[in-house]
C-alpha cells in the first residue's frame, strides 16, 4: 500500500508517501526514526496487522514547515529520511 500523509494548500502539495510493502520487515532497521531531526516517523501496527512507519498526526498538518530544514535551503543535498530508508519506501512530493 502507498500511504500518503500530508495535505495540499495554496502554496503547494506536501505529501510524504510510504510504500508499506517495502516498509514491512524493514531492512534498514527502522533508520528513519533516528534520521528525522523532527522525529516525525513512528512505527504503528496497521489495519492488516503489519508493523509499518507512519507520520505522526500533528506533523501531517505542518509538513512544509517541519521538513524545511532538511530541504536544499537547509544545507542538505539529500533528505535524511530518504537516505536512511535504504529499501526506498519513503518519497516526498515536493
Amino acid at each position: 500500500m502507498i500511504a500518503n500523509y500530508g495535505y495540499k494548500d495554496g502554496s503547494g502539495e506536501y505529501y510524504i508517501s510510504i510504500d508499506t510493502d517495502k516498509c514491512i520487515g524493514c531492512l534498514a532497521e527502522r533508520a528513519c526514526l533516528a534520521a528525522c531531526p523532527k522525529q516525525m516517523f513512528e512505527i504503528i501496527t496497521d489495519d492488516y496487522d503489519d508493523e509499518v512507519a507512519w507520520i505522526k498526526k500533528p506533523n501531517c498538518r505542518t509538513l512544509a514547515y517541519d521538513c524545511s530544514e532538511c530541504k536544499p535551503a537547509g544545507g542538505y543535498s539529500s533528505l535524511p529520511c530518504i537516505t536512511a530508508c535504504t529499501p526506498g519506501a519513503i518519497k516526498h512530493s515536493w
Binding site: M1, N4, K8, D9, E13, D47, K57, C60, R61, S93
Partner: protein, 269 residues
C-alpha cells in the same frame, strides 16, 4: 454470527449490524445487513454518544450486547468507542464497504463532514493506496454546509441550485475561512445564488479531486460519505475528475461502518 461496525464521524455516529448468512451451495459466505442506525450526538460526549447509538441500534434490531460477536470502530472518533474490540482506519473500512457494494470498484472517494479522502483498492476491498487532506476542511461537507447557511439555503436547496447554473466562477482561496470571504464578496456583487452554489461545490470537488488524482483514477469510481446526498457536488466531482459515471450507494453514510462490520466478521474465521 452478528458483528457490528461503528463509524464515529465528526458529525454523526453510524452503526451497522451485520449478519453472516449460511446459504447452501453458495461458494462464499454471504452477509446481510440486519440493522442500520444513525445518530447526531448533539451535546453528548463522544463516548456517551457511541454507547447510546449502539444500544439504540441493538434495541431496534431486538438484540442484546451479548448477541454481538465483535464490534469494530472506525472514523475520527474511533478511539472514543471504548467497547469496540478493535479500531480500523477510515481508509480500510471505506474501501472494504465500497467493494462489498460494488465489486468492480477500484477507486473510492469518501467525502464526509470534516475530511475527504481518495483510496485505490484491490478486488478484495483492501486499500492499496490512499491520500487524504489532514489540514484543510475546504474539501469536505462542513464547508458546503457553512456556505449554504451563508446563502440562507438548506443543503438540499444548495445542491439543487448548483445544478441550475452553467457558470464557472473560480474560487481561488484554498482555505475555508478565506473562501467564505470570497462567497461574501460574490453575494455583495449580486452574483446569482445558483452560480455561487456551483462555485462552492466546484471548489470542494476540485480539492477532493486533487487527492484522488494522487492515488490515480482507475476502474469503477464509487463515492461514499454524506456528500453523496448533494446532487450538485456529485455533478461537480464528475466534471472535475473527467468521468461520466460515479456509482452512488443508496445509504452512503453507512459504507464505512459496513466495511468495519465486514472486517470484524472476516476476522472471526
Amino acid at each position: 454470527m452478528i458483528t457490528a461496525g461503528i463509524d464515529m464521524g465528526s458529525r454523526s455516529v453510524k452503526v451497522v449490524l451485520l449478519e453472516e448468512l449460511k446459504v447452501d451451495g453458495a461458494p462464499a459466505l454471504k452477509y446481510g445487513v440486519k440493522k442500520v442506525h444513525i445518530m447526531m450526538p448533539g451535546d453528548l460526549d463522544q463516548d456517551v454518544a457511541a454507547d447510546k447509538a449502539y444500544d439504540d441500534a441493538l434495541t431496534a434490531a431486538g438484540l442484546k450486547r451479548g448477541d454481538i460477536k465483535a464490534v469494530f470502530a472506525t472514523g475520527a472518533g474511533r478511539k472514543q468507542v471504548g467497547f469496540a474490540t478493535e479500531g480500523i482506519t477510515e481508509m480500510t473500512a471505506g474501501a472494504k464497504g465500497a467493494v462489498f457494494m460494488y465489486p468492480q470498484a477500484r477507486t473510492v472517494v469518501d467525502v464526509g463532514a470534516e475530511e475527504g479522502r481518495g483510496m485505490k483498492t484491490d478486488a478484495e476491498g483492501r486499500a492499496i493506496d490512499f491520500a487524504g487532506n489532514e489540514k484543510c476542511a475546504a474539501g469536505a461537507g462542513s464547508f458546503a454546509e457553512a456556505m449554504s447557511r451563508a446563502l440562507q439555503m438548506t443543503l438540499k436547496e444548495f445542491g439543487d441550485a448548483s445544478l441550475k447554473s452553467d457558470k464557472t466562477i473560480p474560487m481561488n482561496a484554498q482555505c475555508t475561512v478565506f473562501a467564505e470571504s470570497e462567497v461574501v464578496s460574490l453575494i455583495h456583487a449580486s452574483t446569482p445564488k445558483n452560480d455561487i452554489a456551483k462555485a462552492v461545490l466546484d471548489a470542494v470537488a476540485s480539492r477532493v479531486c486533487a487527492m484522488v488524482r494522487r492515488v490515480g483514477i482507475e476502474g469503477e469510481v464509487v463515492l461514499i460519505g454524506g456528500m453523496v446526498h448533494n446532487a450538485g457536488f456529485v455533478q461537480s466531482l464528475k466534471a472535475s475528475m473527467g468521468v461520466d459515471t460515479i456509482s452512488l450507494p443508496d445509504m452512503p453514510e453507512y459504507i464505512s461502518a459496513l466495511g468495519c462490520a465486514l472486517i470484524a466478521a472476516e476476522r472471526q474465521h
